[in-house]
Symmetry: C2
Subunit: 662 residues, 2 copies
């Protein structure tokens, strides 16, 4: 450590002295992500303040946004503060610092007792080395006939928290090993039944639990071109933009048709879309101050050792050196897409450039903005539609998630999550299930597919859920907003009425947080709308945006389950809180090994007022996953989405006058 | 009537004698829709059999499909029967005939007592003429200051059935009038409060109900180019296929990548997709024998006169001369789409050619078939995706529905419904709502927006629902299928287990129809799979296709509501019946004025066996619609969908070896 960084230091110097003279990218917007020179400055500032030693890991370094009021009053070209929020780890001690970057000052440096920083790559490797050196592990492998450890890879990560004596005494990482010989897809090669618990503080093996016997099969489930081939292209389907894209981007600021917004790629949560506005002539109307993924929860549904504690909080438990992965042009995004790069801090404190961590592209393929055929018109009237898609991909170990923010010409903003990648699987002895329909439900003995489904000989895909929390700081026509809950309730009509029933809309304004903890219910449906508290449309209704749910799921875990408690945000599809700059992560800032309800359940216990004030909505999107053979060896992308939909925000359909070509 | 049709007769003769010699299109597949010469033959056959007189209307003429076994054993070039199912109306009497087209024989001719044929255009006009001539109507209009009737248009259609004395004595059509002066969008120009009940048998006015006073506003809500303009095209986004489309179509048979299917456009339900197979080398595997829309139910939620009886069964109550409307190239379908024409019988008994009633196009814009980024690979692996879209648009009065059947490379078949067009609105005195949040919920007096929402000055969009029933005759690897219901049920773990709960999958086979009447429930979710009763995949599981629901809704109407009873299919999201050639329409063959539970509720009362036999699944897709200003004057398209998803049908992800370009 304490390495000098002369070039970066020089550049930082130049940037500080002549902000616009330096040729390298400098932040031009208060919400721009931290850039290389700034990361170096953070490093140097903390080092010079004596806060680093040779055991310090940089767990997380993100932009600490300026106060919202400052951002809202900022004008292009104006000055703005630059602060970094830094999580440092020394062993199992966690420190949180705030650094004023241009002034190179440590504004605060706090020890965070009881909080665990996310697990980083370096740690994963360190745990792996400890595991491979452990005599019990070696014996366990030898019992399976594995003596050449060169292709054996071990590692360890967060194993939840279950309130056991062991968990109270130690911060426990769960380790496992896999055999990578002869395959690139080593997810199917886990050593069955071998779990190693490692003390995070000492990186020493606490306990080896060996409940298995066999070794993984040798079948290869690769999906490289080498393995699966690639068919010749069929009749080409070419999308071209001879005049270039229809959007403009300057730094993080994007302008497309009536939409304007700012985008940065945050190390922890990826895409952060800010200051989303609808521009009509000179008038800029605020829709969403900020929206981003806040947390991911993926609990597996297998009670066996080595599996019951796979209850991942995937955004907060791992320091992944940036959630957003480099995108592959032409595959992850279409050939005509534009890309955004970003810089992230590595665990060692040196920044890293990540290329193409987001893409932007226009999409038009047979979408119809609106249409109508009327008998007194020779042909139907209508307009084809075009969207603007902003995408990132997060690879979280085996899973890959695509996150699309789709800006639509009709004023809607659709958020979609596509799940692909590799299933988390376990090797089993069974190579085929002798299925007997009758006996199946009554079977008492645990079967290899009791907690999942055989995907291939010797490979079981384990049942699991996915839950995503999106933080949606809607500012509909300004920051003073409320939540309107429009319930559709059955009304019985008088007996003498020919009709017996209908539904009407009962509008309620949620006064406090508890009144805004809402679940989807087909028997008592409701519209959830963030309404302006001070702006009305021409007809007298408050302007608003609806949070329009798509297909969704409820957690089936029990309320006293530690996992359900730790990921407490999954208890409701919607939460609303008053705006707080420090409330960004739905399961808390430090979900790793957390022992209770941080984040939304904790914040909302105060039942704060949320009426006619600056509020933040949190939407939980979930789905259950019962694996099927088609999900192997790599899953077809499965999409789920929701929409922010204007509701009396515009005086009429804003897509009326679109061009007649997309 | 009794007009001669010499040219068509000659062509039909040629076709019968030399089936392949005639240049005009002849049916080449047993499931092809009826074609012009065949309609003429139907007409002539019925006329020559003395079944027509000057009062006969052709309400519906559709292909009567050959028995399924004949279709399944048919080979290209082989002979097949051609029969037409004909519904004739004489006054309020309904007749159903079956005609053997090539042999020109009336195979059956039945009177259908108690059944009402759908209302046709001619009738609508006839009712309109009667209304406009009625002195009470003229007086009502005069009271409103309307004396020039030239731009007043009246008409009448089905008004549900409510078991009133009037309904028991008469078949009642509900008529209304609108003022078309100065607008093409006359849906906002209904004469407020004026309802005219007309006896269908005599086309005489039964009763004029006038509860209104004003006249509609003069505001124009047109969305013609003239009215709303069309912006100049922005940077072009060009989709081109220099080598033409990647699919082939011969008559109704389409082949695209691994998919093969047959399509026809049926007059009553539009797109009928049949014999959907996945082809792998020489092997053709059956997925879906046939899928199509079966019924639409749109109940409005307004108890006032003229509104409570707007409870439309839109597929069965109207003889629309073909549900599928002509598509506008470049707007309804992208510029590179291919189109399908069709012929339908008009009410007069003469066929009509309808151009471009369906389109087919390939779509690729940034969809990702699958991807994964692995640390031991320089770049992520993945494939871009391409879809094949088959689309029709049905304009049902004010509403326009897009129906997409999307064939995917991953083996899924997605069915999507897009709702656009014009809201059903009522003129009201209010031009603005003086909204008082506090008073709103407690208001006692009925308000103009009690049953909907003000969309524009003087225009209220009335709350309503949309429900669609899709008939899905899945034949997964043959006709012997069962329904597997895989329930995800919470399991509590023993107290000593660190984890408290998880869910497991409990599989159940539905033995009879009642066991397959299923609703979505987030607290007790389940997978619905049509499984093969005799084919297992390589791992031992039955091959299957899942009916994977998207966002959906439940009816909020009471069970004793006539409308709920008449559209009984909406009571469940899923129904399964044993295959029956005569069970095609979820609310029965004759929903017009139907007085009870026809269709699914009636058929399934017998609780027939559905295990290991040829079964048909019926999926109900619904959504509630609370109108908003943005839905006016024409609605942005709102999409809802579901998916037929392979589940252990393939041994692995079938999209692995796709080309590296879409």
């Amino acid at each position: 450590m304490h390495r000098a960084a002369p070039l970066a230091g020089l550049l930082l110097f130049l940037w500080l002295v002549h902000p616009l003279a330096a040729q390298q990218a400098v932040p031009t917007h208060p919400l721009d992500g931290l850039q290389s020179a700034e990361y170096w400055a953070v490093y140097e500032t903390l080092r010079d303040a004596g806060r680093l030693d040779s055991t310090t890991a940089f767990s997380e370094v993100t932009l600490r946004e300026p106060p919202k009021a400052e951002v809202l009053s900022w004008k292009p070209g104006g000055r703005f503060r630059r602060e970094a929020r830094v999580t440092l780890r020394k062993g199992i001690r966690t420190f949180e610092a705030v650094v004023d970057v241009p002034r190179r000052r440590v504004l605060s440096f706090d020890s965070m007792p009881g909080m665990q920083a996310p697990v980083d790559f370096g740690e994963y490797e360190e745990v792996g080395t400890a595991i491979k050196a452990d005599p019990q592990v070696r014996a366990a492998l030898a019992r399976r006939g594995i003596t050449d450890l060169a292709t054996i890879r071990c590692g360890g990560g967060p194993a939840g928290y279950f309130g056991t004596a062991e968990h109270k005494d130690h911060v426990v990482l769960r380790g496992s090993c896999s055999d990578r010989f002869g395959t690139y897809n080593s997810w199917s090669r886990q050593i069955p039944g071998l779990t190693i618990l490692v003390d995070r503080a000492t990186k020493k093996v606490l306990r080896v639990v060996d409940v298995g016997t066999g070794r993984p099969g040798r079948d290869s489930y690769d999906f490289t071109d080498e393995a699966v081939g690639a068919a010749d292209a069929t009749h080409p389907l070419v999308v071209s933009q001879p005049m270039g894209p229809g959007f403009t981007r300057q730094g993080g600021e994007v302008s497309w048709q009536h939409w304007k917004f700012h985008v940065r790629v945050d190390p922890r949560v990826g895409l952060v879309v800010s200051r989303v506005r609808w521009v009509d002539g000179d008038r800029e109307r605020s829709v969403l101050y900020q929206g981003h993924l806040s947390e991911i929860f993926v609990p597996y549904m297998d009670s066996t050792t080595g599996w019951y504690d796979r209850v991942f909080l995937d955004a907060g438990e791992y320091a992944a050196e940036g959630m957003a992965e480099s995108l592959e042009p032409g595959i992850d995004c279409p050939a005509h897409a534009s890309y955004i790069d970003a810089q992230v801090m590595t665990g060692r404190g040196t920044p890293m450039i990540k290329r193409r961590v987001a893409c932007l592209f226009e999409r038009a393929s047979g979408q119809v903005a609106w249409r109508h055929g009327e008998e007194n018109s020779e042909s139907s009237a209508g307009r084809p539609a075009r969207d603007l898609v902003l995408r990132m991909v997060a690879t979280v170990g085996n899973y890959d998630y695509l996150f699309d923010w789709v800006f639509q010409q009709n004023g809607s903003l659709r958020v979609a999550v596509g799940a692909t990648g590799i299933l988390e699987v376990k090797p089993v002895p069974s190579r085929m299930i002798a299925m007997d329909q009758g006996a199946r439900a009554d079977a008492v003995a645990p079967r290899d597919d009791a907690f999942g489904r055989l995907l291939a000989p010797g490979v079981v895909g384990v049942n699991h859920d996915h839950f995503f929390s999106f933080r949606l700081d809607l500012d509909v026509d300004g920051t003073s907003n409320s939540l309107a809950v429009d319930s559709l309730a059955r009304v019985r009509l008088p007996d003498e009425h020919p009709r017996r029933s209908l539904w009407t809309v009962q509008e309620r304004i949620a006064r406090t947080e508890k009144g805004a903890q809402l679940d989807m219910n087909m028997h008592a449906p409701a519209l959830w709308r963030v309404i302006s508290a001070d702006t009305r449309g021409p007809l007298g209704y408050a302007t608003s945006y609806e949070i329009a749910a798509g297909h969704n799921a409820m957690s089936l875990l029990a309320d006293d389950d530690w996992s359900q408690r730790r990921a407490g945000f999954i208890r409701h599809h919607l939460w609303v809180t008053p705006y707080s700059a420090t409330e960004r992560y739905a399961a808390g800032d430090y979900p790793t090994f957390s022992n209770g309800e941080f984040g939304l359940p904790a914040w909302t216990r105060a039942d704060r007022r949320i009426e006619a004030t600056d509020i933040v909505a949190w939407y939980t999107l979930g789905f259950h996953h019962v694996p099927r053979a088609e999900d192997w060896p790599v899953m077809p992308t499965a999409w789920h989405d929701f929409e922010l939909r204007p509701f009396d925000f515009f005086p009429q359909n804003p897509a009326l006058g679109l061009p007649r070509t997309p």
